[in-house]
């Protein structure tokens, strides 16, 4: 018992000890069509926005350091979070038209490439959304408001990618279009001792 007390006393300075890295601005930009081509038809009523015939599009983060939900760091465990602050959709070319007729658009994390998040029980997670009535009419770009979702749990630990899906209402740009989807995230990795 006495030894336990001594050990506890010696470990007392460790209480509250930690190491962490914090980056409030991690931005990833992803081209929907995978190049300069316009893969989306113009002037279509929006619903599930399919990209190259797929319900979802894949964003591969790559094998980035720290982008693991948890990893061991010596005697401590490193816990990481990647909070999505917001997202954006920007037309690649103004010749495609604009987003003025887009009423709403939501960015969702989908469990599988074939999932239709509008279906009940699809088990999708709303990451960010836009509402023209709430946020104003968009033009060449749409800013989606984030819902502080931690993306880490949606990033595959093997493929390092996440399946995302757009659900929208209204009408898309008048001509075929392509867009860059950007995600603004906050990274925080912290190891607590002991």
């Amino acid at each position: 018992m006495r030894n336990l007390k001594i050990i506890a006393l010696l470990l007392l300075p460790l209480l509250g000890c930690f190491a962490q890295i914090e980056d409030q601005s991690v931005a990833l930009s992803h081209n929907l069509c995978g190049g300069a081509t316009n893969c989306m038809p113009g002037a279509l009523p929006l619903g599930l926005i399919q990209i190259s015939g797929q319900n979802t599009f894949t964003v591969n983060f790559g094998d980035q350091p720290l982008l693991q939900p948890s990893s061991s760091l010596g005697p401590a465990t490193l816990n990481t979070s990647l909070i999505l602050n917001g997202a954006g959709v920007r037309l690649q070319s103004s010749a495609s038209g604009d987003f003025k007729n887009v009423a709403t658009i939501s960015l969702l994390a989908a469990p599988a490439a074939t999932t239709d998040c509008s279906a009940s029980g699809s088990n999708c997670t709303l990451l960010a959304d836009y509402d023209r009535n709430r946020d104003g009419t968009a033009d060449q770009s749409i800013a989606l408001r984030g819902h502080d979702v931690d993306l880490i749990s949606y990033i595959s630990t093997t493929s390092h990618s996440v399946q995302l899906q757009f659900q929208a209402t209204g009408t898309g740009p008048g001509n075929t279009w392509n867009a860059d989807v950007s995600m603004d995230m906050a990274l925080k990795a912290r190891a607590n001792f002991p």
Binding site: P13, G16, Q20, I21, L28, G34, G62, S161
Partner: protein, 504 residues
């Protein structure tokens, strides 16, 4: 026996009268024996005279006394030893002009002492100019006699005196000095009284009383062109006299005397005039008791207080309130072995090692600043240490902060990725440390210590570097990463050991 008594009474009356007449008494007898009315050895002629006075006295007694008194009561018979009294005297060589001069002597005789009689004159006058003054016996110490030569007699450059004493039987006189070889007393101005050199004799005569105790809060600064008030508390069982502030301009040789006035109770004050506060001053305070004992001093002629005279812009800084000696706050500043500058060397983890310069502005406070090295790279650091005691083992609280510059973290982390290596090879970080410790040894000279606590580390990683790392790991060519600066922080335990050595 009656005759001798009458002589004693007559002589005593003469002495008192002569003392009152002071030095203007031109009728002072030329012969000391005659002037003082000292009892003479019985002779036939004097016996007759004595008989006349005795009969008068007897007749007066008869009027007021019982018949039995007509026959005088037998007096205790002490055999005449035939020897004069043993007279010892500590010569007085100096005094204060215009102040009473105390002269003391010690005389004993088995038959009883008559006198002693002090004969004093202005130096240079004739043998007939001595003024006889009877010395008064002490009520405390048998055989001690003293007399204050009146101030009216001491307003001269020098005096000469001698003392004579007889026994009641008329044997004597025993002398200290003589009319022909008197003892000289130099009388100086009040502020220039030199310590009375004592010529030791067989018996040491203790002066009456003691000099007053001086409590004074030394002034250190004052404003140029403004008067400076100097206060002191003078406490003496035998009174206070001649309290002065002796001051001079720094660099001057002679002091000027500034009498201090009593402002109630034991408090005295003096004000150095504004006209004198033109440059730095030095001063001390001194005082005597009413018997001239002293001087008691706060400061001294050779170690005066330094009073810096400042330009009017900054306010005068008052000295700290006077405190009793026993209650004085302990500071290294007051200690003879005060050391304030030293060197410290330490090492530990994860802080690394360092060499620091130590400065101790207060005995319980140390400041440090210097270089740090932790194998990653060099840095600088500074801090404070609180050491609230000066024991052989002293607890301390240490607070440090610093920054490491361009360290190479890859020495400790195995990284193959070139972009990550590039970022970690130029790591800089800031740290702050709080530690409790124990120091062994002397706070004034050398101490060894052990410390433990926590350290807070803070660093910023370049966003460009992180962007490069992200791009290198990018799994999709359609992705573009843009990463801002990242903040890295940690709180971790730390420990260190080292030593301090104070050299100055």
């Amino acid at each position: 026996m009656h005759l001798r008594k009458l002589f004693v009474v007559a002589a005593a009356s003469l002495c008192v009268g002569a003392g009152a007449m002071a030095q203007t008494d031109a009728a002072t007898p030329a012969q000391p024996d005659a002037s003082t009315g000292a009892p003479a050895k019985p002779s036939k002629k004097k016996k007759k005279s004595g008989k006349k006075k005795s009969s008068k006295k007897s007749s007066r007694k008869k009027k007021s006394s019982a018949p039995a008194a007509a026959a005088p009561a037998p007096e205790p018979q002490v055999p005449d030893d035939g020897e004069p009294p043993q007279l010892t005297h500590q010569f007085v060589a100096a005094g204060v002009r215009g102040k009473p001069l105390t002269i003391a002597a010690h005389a004993i005789d088995a038959n009883g002492v008559f006198g002693p009689i002090l004969s004093v004159r202005k130096k240079g006058l004739g043998a007939g100019d001595y003024v006889p003054i009877k010395m008064a016996p002490s009520k405390i110490v048998p055989g001690d006699y003293s007399v204050d030569v009146p101030a009216a007699l001491t307003n001269v450059d020098a005096l000469e005196y001698y003392i004579e004493a007889w026994d009641i039987a008329g044997n004597g006189p025993a002398r200290a000095g003589s009319a022909d070889q008197p003892i000289a007393v130099t009388l100086d101005e009040e502020k220039k009284v030199a310590a009375t050199p004592a010529i030791p004799t067989t018996v040491t005569i203790k002066p009456k009383g003691a000099p007053p105790a001086i409590t004074h809060a030394a002034l250190t600064q004052a404003l140029k062109g403004k008067p400076v008030e100097i206060n002191a508390r003078l406490v003496g069982d035998t009174g206070v006299q001649g309290a002065v502030v002796m001051f001079r301009h720094a660099g001057d040789k002679e002091y000027k005397a500034l009498p201090m006035g009593n402002i109630g109770g034991d408090d005295y004050t003096a004000t150095i005039p504004a006209a004198m506060t033109t440059s730095d001053l030095e001063y001390y305070v001194e005082a005597f008791d009413q018997y001239g004992n002293g001087p008691a001093r706060s400061g001294a002629p050779n170690v005066p207080y330094a009073l810096r005279i400042m330009d009017p812009a900054p306010a005068a800084v008052p000295a700290p309130a006077p405190v009793a000696l026993g209650a004085q706050k302990r500071t290294l500043d007051e200690e003879p072995e005060r050391t304030i500058i030293g060197l410290g060397i330490d090492g530990g983890a994860p802080g690394g090692g360092g060499v620091t310069l130590l400065v101790r502005p207060l005995w319980w406070l140390r400041l440090n600043g210097g270089l740090a090295y932790n194998a990653i790279g060099f840095g600088y650091r500074g801090g404070i240490t609180l050491a609230p005691a000066d024991w052989a083992v002293t607890p301390t609280l240490n607070l440090d902060a610093g920054r490491y510059l361009s360290g190479d973290m890859t020495k400790f982390v195995t990284i193959s990725d070139p972009t990550e290596r590039a970022m970690l090879s130029k790591t800089t970080y800031t740290f702050a440390t709080a530690q409790l410790g124990l120091e062994f040894g002397s706070q004034r000279r050398f101490s060894f210590y052990l410390r433990g606590g926590v350290t807070y580390v803070f660093s910023t990683l370049s966003g460009a570097d992180i962007t490069a790392i992200a791009a290198a790991h990018n799994g999709d060519p359609n992705n573009t990463f843009t990463v801002g600066d990242a903040k890295v922080s940690a709180i971790a335990p730390c420990a260190s050991l080292g030593f301090n050595i104070f050299v100055y």
